[in-house]
Amino acid sequence: MSLKRIDLLICFGSGCLSAGAQKIKDRFYEVLQAKGLSSEINIIETGCMGPCDYGPVMVIYPEGIFYKKVTPDDVEEIVNEHFLKGRPVKRLMIQDEEDKTFFTQKEIPFYQKQVKVALANCGFIDPESIEEYIATGGYEALGTVLTTMTPQQVIDVIKKSGLRGRGGGGFPTHLKWQMVHDNSSPEKYFICNGDEGDPGAFMDRSLLEGDPHRVLEGMMIAAYAIGAKNGYFYIRAEYPLAIKRIKMAIEQAKKAGLAGNNIFGSDFSFEAEVRTGAGAFVCGEETALIQSIEGQRGNPTPKPPYPAVQGLYKKPTVVNNVETLGNIPTILLKGADWFASMGTETSKGTKVFALTGDIKNTGLVEVPMGITLRELIFDVGGGIIGDHKFKAVQLGGPSGGCLTTQHLDVPVDYESLKERGAMMGSGGVIVMNDEKCMVNVAKFFMDFCVDESCGKCSPCRIGLKQMLEILKRIDSGYGKEGDIEELQRLGETISKLSLCGLGQTAPNPVLSTIRYFRDEYEAHIRDKSCANKVCPDLMHFEINKDKCIGCSLCSRKCPVQCISGSREEKYTINQLPCIKCGTCMDVCPVKAIAKIPGMHSDVKAQREAEELQQQNQEE
């Protein structure tokens, strides 16, 4: 029985760690030691609490007081004021625009519309303590399943719950399980997909780091249901903490008799192992992942045969995403009806999203399916940073699609998103403000997919490259009539003919931006103009002679010396050699230099002359 009166939970998620959580913890140790308070206060490291942008964050119980952006210098004040005198430090709390202060974690608007199922313990327990997991009801579902249910009964519960895969495809979980359950093969495997290669995504990593036992318990229940004795966690090597935590969870569970032989006195025995991936996006694709675990190059293989029929070592295998597994224990504890009561007709339960981009509350959230994009971006995410407007949101990772203001009231569910050219994907949400150029955005994602294509099949290897070339041409001012149609034709063909999901979905960002921002493509091609001044060839810098005071600073700082003039004449940029570095604009003391949309007429004229010359030579 402890003498503790305060639980100090410090977020040790990746975001807060990089913001300095370790230093805060060390400082607390020092100060508490110095003041003789160490025996009264528990310091607990947790997984991600969600609002990563405010890191390092912490929650202090019993009151549940939430502090943001804590620095080592704040620690002494927290101890003196809050721990000793019971006066929480207001200036470290979250405030809204109207200066309303939110004392406790529960009051913060960021958490209001969230419903935590998979993330229930993330940020609330010590992920390295099996006891804390058990205290929250952990392993109760496994015990109940093993001692009172048949595998078929487990599958029936999952079927009734309506759970669909959270790894991207949204495939009904019970169907895969049923297929492998029904297979009479004596050897079957279970794989947990923790590859998570989408740029900006950190849902699965956070869950593995913040509540590893939940994922392990989910895996064991699934393995029992399908009849597998061996399970693999496939986690990319860039996630060392996730790997460490899951390994630790496996060890702890074994020691406690919760993994290994005859778990809960039943006939069920289970061994779990961790396999690390080298971090190629395509290795998240299930057939490539299986190849990788087998020690081969991580190339996708044609489906059928599906892994459920012929998977790892040619045996029936179920591959499930980390978050999918994170839902399993709770569904069995609270019941299928409880789970199915959240969400829409076809998409049940909750979904974890990683909010990134030009949004105020970047971080990790879990919301009920069917929530609108508006609620997700503005209520939970807090809206757009600064004085900007919302322009678009990319859902579903690098091969998802872009949606726009007209879609803000679309419910977030598998079908609604797909109908509009985006997809649920694994939960990456990149929010973009009105300064973004959609042609440039599409090019960025295409560049990623070209890099990550494994090259096995030609539509993806050659076709995507072709699309990227056209995009590069458009954004450097060499776009021509018919390019948009060519992009669409290529995109549709590649989607149809590629072997795996990467190639099948990689054209999505281009196709969806053409669908919703066609005018931007047209302006790039016809008017040689990038309205948002993002594409360097389709904008230029200009000096306003009325404002220029002739100080010559820009001319001296210009790296290619393309600015000339005099105090009397004022200064002018020679547009042809200008490399659009923007230095002049930054150094001008009177802000006389501005970015102007559109290619400068001098450059246009020069390019036309070059083209003419080329034509003449050809003739």
């Binding site: 029985m1 009166r5 305060i6 000793l84």
Partner: protein
């Protein structure tokens, strides 16, 4: 561990360790720890509460602190708050008095009226 009953045992013990994070608490003890409270010995009072409660294995009691209570002549001041009952405020507390409050009020449910300075909200 072989049965659900084994798991339950571990769970109960673990929940005990996590009770500060919102387990089931029957009684909350709130010690006034403003500057004057501390000057009058509020820290000793709080420490004694923590020790007594730990020694007696009282798993459903929570000790926390609050700022100035505006009763400076009566410091150290302690509220004992029990679910569904009026709040009881004790004043001029000392470690000796704390021991008595723990045994009488918290364990046996009998308010120590000699030390009470206010009741209700």
């Amino acid at each position: 561990m072989k049965t659900l009953a084994d798991l339950k045992k571990i769970r109960e013990k673990a929940q005990e360790e996590m009770k500060l994070r919102g387990g089931n608490t029957r009684i909350k003890v709130v010690v006034g720890m403003g500057t004057s409270g501390i000057a009058m010995g509020a820290r000793e009072v709080m420490k004694t509460f923590l020790e007594e409660i730990a020694n007696r294995n009282l798993t459903d009691v929570l000790v926390t602190q609050t700022g100035e209570k505006g009763l400076s002549s009566l410091e150290p001041v302690v509220d004992v708050i029990e679910e569904g009952k009026p709040k009881v405020t004790y004043g001029n507390m000392t470690p000796e008095k704390v021991k008595k409050v723990v045994i009488e009020h918290i364990v046996n449910g009998r308010i120590v009226s000699d030390y009470v300075v206010a009741t209700g909200n």
